[in-house]
């Protein structure tokens, strides 16, 4: 019991003193190991071992592919394509924004990259056409979370690792419907506000001109087919399709769209390295921490505490969701996945929730956390790209929060949405 207190309390104290989360995980593991009198090098071995794993390699590859696509003209063509599909309705550009994020989500799993690239094109465009700036930012920020859930998603790979070997292909499949649901759910408030504020209908190209736009975007859209088709058909592993996506995106950006310059490429490499290293180091140190959590039976302790409050599956799921939403307000997504998965997953499994279903609940939930202050990376990027303030954007956000929470509850309580596709292809 003392060891458990040392582990958790020292971790909390350190992160509140602003020691980076990954380092705090490692240090609190060391402290606990010293207390227990175990050989301290275990912590380092636990930290290094998960990095030596082929499926982890998919993370840098997906991040790299996503950044190449975001920065080299592919996202602009995706927006043009979305414009032909949904631009015609009232509040058309908001719908274009949401659909473009869906398509972009099929190529990349980064909501920040999505907000930065789609937002920098669409927010000014929406404002020019008479949309409120903060409404435009709110649509961009919330819709970008679709990409976290729609395959491919590097967060799904982080979860698969934290959950101890859930099939990545199944998780990818499971995310498809809930990801699209988030998009559809966001369209509701977007449309109601568009009608009330009389936002304009769009006037997308028709006939031959539309065909030309579609053909121009086809190279980008093919990425979705390659990645999702490759993984889901079982031909490629996630890592293999990620590396194919990198090579394909490089080829399209360099030879077809011809927008990838050396300067851009160096910027892409720097950003990819920064994200990749931070995420993988976090996975490593969290694995040392997670090993101790299990060693000290902490998940069981948490489960018993929650079961004392209620033994009703639906109430417990509500509690878990509420806790995750609160944590999502102050912490980033990747650290929360690696820390909360080993704690809550055993309880969820005891209640008869499959690890796949729980993973999707976790991702939809933590996606909301990325859009909420005080800590919400996607919200920050959207606010900066749209040149507004957090306070103003927050006021425009609440109808979209409600929609997202509605979808979260649907995904939580109706396992069908997450489990139907994987069961269909018998993964």
């Amino acid at each position: 019991m003392n060891a458990a207190i040392i582990l958790i309390v020292s971790f909390l104290v350190m992160i509140f003193l602003r020691i980076p989360i990954s380092f705090s995980l490692l240090f609190s593991s060391f402290l606990t190991i010293f207390y227990l009198g175990l050989p301290p090098m275990i912590a380092l071995q636990r930290m290094a071992d998960p990095l030596d794993n082929m499926s982890m390699m998919a993370i840098p590859f997906f991040i790299l592919a996503g950044k190449i696509m975001a920065d080299s003209g592919i996202s602009r063509r995706i927006i043009n394509f979305a414009n032909i599909l949904v631009g015609r309705v009232r509040g058309g550009l908001a719908f274009v924004n949401i659909v473009a994020s869906m398509l972009f989500g099929g190529m990349s799993g980064s909501s920040v990259a999505d907000t930065a690239s789609i937002g920098s094109i669409l927010i000014p465009e929406m404002e020019k056409k008479g949309y409120d700036r903060d409404y435009s930012i709110a649509v961009t920020v919330t819709s970008s979370t679709e990409g976290l859930i729609i395959p491919p998603s590097h967060n799904a790979i982080i979860y698969a690792q934290a959950a101890g070997g859930v099939s990545i292909a199944s998780l990818f499949l499971a995310g498809a419907i809930p990801g699209i649901m988030v998009g559809l759910g966001l369209m509701l408030p977007a449309y109601i506000i568009a009608v009330r504020k009389k936002y304009p209908k769009g006037n997308p190209p028709k006939g031959k001109a539309a065909l030309k736009v579609a053909l121009d975007s086809i190279w980008g859209l093919m990425t979705i087919v390659i990645i999702i088709g490759g993984v889901l058909s079982g031909i490629f592993t996630a890592t293999e399709s990620a590396v194919i996506a990198v090579v394909y995106a490089l080829l399209v950006a360099t030879f077809v769209y011809r927008e990838l310059t050396v300067t851009k490429f160096l910027k892409i490499m720097r950003e990819t390295l920064e994200t990749t290293i931070a995420v993988l180091f976090l996975i490593g140190t969290a694995s040392a921490f997670g090993w101790l959590l299990a060693y000290l039976n902490i998940p069981e302790l948490v489960a018993n505490t929650i079961l004392n409050i209620s033994s009703n599956k639906y109430v417990i799921l509500l509690i878990i969701n509420a806790v995750l939403l609160l944590l999502g307000m102050i912490m980033d997504m990747a650290p929360l996945i690696v820390i909360t998965t080993p704690i809550f997953l055993p309880l969820a499994v005891d209640l008869g929730i499959s690890p796949i279903h729980f993973g999707i609940i976790l991702m939809v939930n933590l996606g909301i956390g990325l859009c909420t202050p005080p800590v919400g990376n996607t919200l920050f990027v959207g606010t900066i790209v749209g040149k507004s303030t957090i306070e103003n954007v927050f006021k425009a956000m609440w109808p979209f929060y409600l929609a997202m929470i509605g979808i979260l509850l649907l995904v939580t309580y109706i396992p069908f949405f997450a489990e139907w596709l994987p069961s269909l292809l018998s993964f």
């Binding site: 509140f16 003193l17 602003r18 990954s22 390699m57 590396v243 390295l273 920064e274 990749t276 800590v375």
Partner: protein, 160 residues
Amino acid sequence: MHKFFERVDKIFFAVLSATLLFNVAITFSQVIARYVFNSPLVWQEELSGVTMIYLVLVGTTWGIRKAIHISVMVVSNFLFKKAPIIPDILEILGYIVYSMLTIIYGFQLVDVTKFQILPTLGIKQSYIYGVIPISGFLMLYFVFEKIFELRKSKKEGDKT
């Protein structure tokens, strides 16, 4: 001094980028070898693993320059509103502790694994874990830079 730091940064950036691109290249070669020529490259998986551990643990130390590691800012911003230097100092102390732990226990880990051999590459397991103490030493360099820059910015802050 600032120029020196920037030059070292460029070297790290170049080496880390090359490592990642090398990994892209060998993994892609594996795909081609497996699906086109039907003869998988047996060494690829192990080599990818080794380069990845090096990339992450060396990169982690380089990353403290640009503060890539995620922190929880809310509480400390509130606690140290009047003395924002305190969390900066605590963070640096954290990095020094990381150096000590990885150097001391990293060498122990290297020592106990020196007889394990990787099956396909034929190299010692301890060469892989060797990056742990290396990362401890590199961290000391970046801590030095961080202290230097912090003192400089403090001096400039005092002037204004």
